[in-house]
Symmetry: C2
Subunit: 201 residues, 2 copies
């Protein structure tokens, strides 16, 4: 497995990462269904069998490639650090920042593209965005109905990614990061802490 | 052109509408790129040449099939009718209602799916959602920077359609219409009338 092939990257250090990077690029550009393990291998410069060896299946490769290079514990710790700013402002700073960062932006754009047209990918978005990140956030803030709050947060995060980075609506696409944070911070504050939940019980 | 073909719908009354309905279904299911004039013709039960005759091109067929069965003048008149409710509540009632209605929902879901992965369709969404509907709305409300407000409104409309009707995030997907209106009305109010625009001039 470690013998180099013509022009291809040998197995070992860096290979897994190269495959993940290639997968992010391909899923981001072509969505889930039209991305092939062969195409990913070609971009990564590895033998297609190595992709299978490392990841086992396209679904697993997708799941691992959309692991955001952020973890919710770090995010939450940052959100609750002592300092100025409401929880909505901090969440907005963080989420708008995540959407601006080229690596995370590519992952999120890929996820949204795939989720828009492919039910398998939609299921993965539900797991990743709401269950792993936004529901823990809403739970930590301590409001009632954290899942409903998290799913509404998700609508604004996904909508912002679509409007600013995919569809590129003007002038939102070219607005400064500060402007966008100012615009969406009160929305996150409202979804996380507002008393709008209509509880029939 | 009017001679019926085997099992196919003849040209004339109802044909154009049948093609439009078939196009909405196909664009909604397959997106812009993977929808073919031949496939639309098959669903509509007409000769593929009739589709070309009526619409000239796939792009034109798309544009005409995503004409929402609502017009912005009617929407605006309704929004400014005398009666109770803030502008945000009325906009939320209207937009959530449009997303619930099966016909408009199918059109909007088709638009968003296509826009998520296809730059041609993204351009069309910019024209339809923001230029034709949301910017006139923001202008009528009279705030500064109507285009920025409209594009932020669009992020919430698109995010809501994604979360509630495409990705189907729980419990948002099953929340009552009233609950969703209560949740998003203050967001529309904020985007339309809030004083958050950071004007450097």
């Amino acid at each position: 497995m470690t013998k180099p092939r013509r022009g291809r990257r040998p197995a070992g250090s860096g290979t897994r990462e190269a495959i993940i990077n290639a997968a992010r690029q391909q899923f981001g550009e072509f969505g889930y269904r039209r991305t092939t393990l062969r195409g990913v291998a070609r971009i990564a410069g590895v033998d297609p069998r190595l992709v299978l060896h490392y990841f086992g299946s396209k679904k697993q490769l997708f799941l691992e490639s959309v692991e955001l290079p952020i973890d919710s514990d770090t995010l939450l710790a940052h959100l609750f650090e002592p300092g100025p700013g409401s929880i909505g402002e901090r969440a907005a700073e963080m989420l708008v920042g995540i959407l601006e960062d080229p690596t995370t932006q590519r992952v999120i754009v890929g996820l949204i593209r795939a989720a828009a047209s492919e039910p398998e990918a939609a299921q993965l978005v539900r797991e990743i965005l709401t269950e792993r990140i936004l529901t823990p956030l809403a739970e930590s803030v301590g409001g009632d109905h954290p899942e409903l709050r998290a799913s509404l947060m998700a609508t604004q995060v996904v909508g912002l990614a679509m409007g600013r980075h995919i569809v590129k609506l003007d002038p939102l696409a070219t607005a400064s990061r500060d402007q966008v944070v100012r615009a969406v911070a009160p929305v996150f504050e409202h979804y996380l802490t507002g008393s709008w939940v209509d509880d029939p019980s």
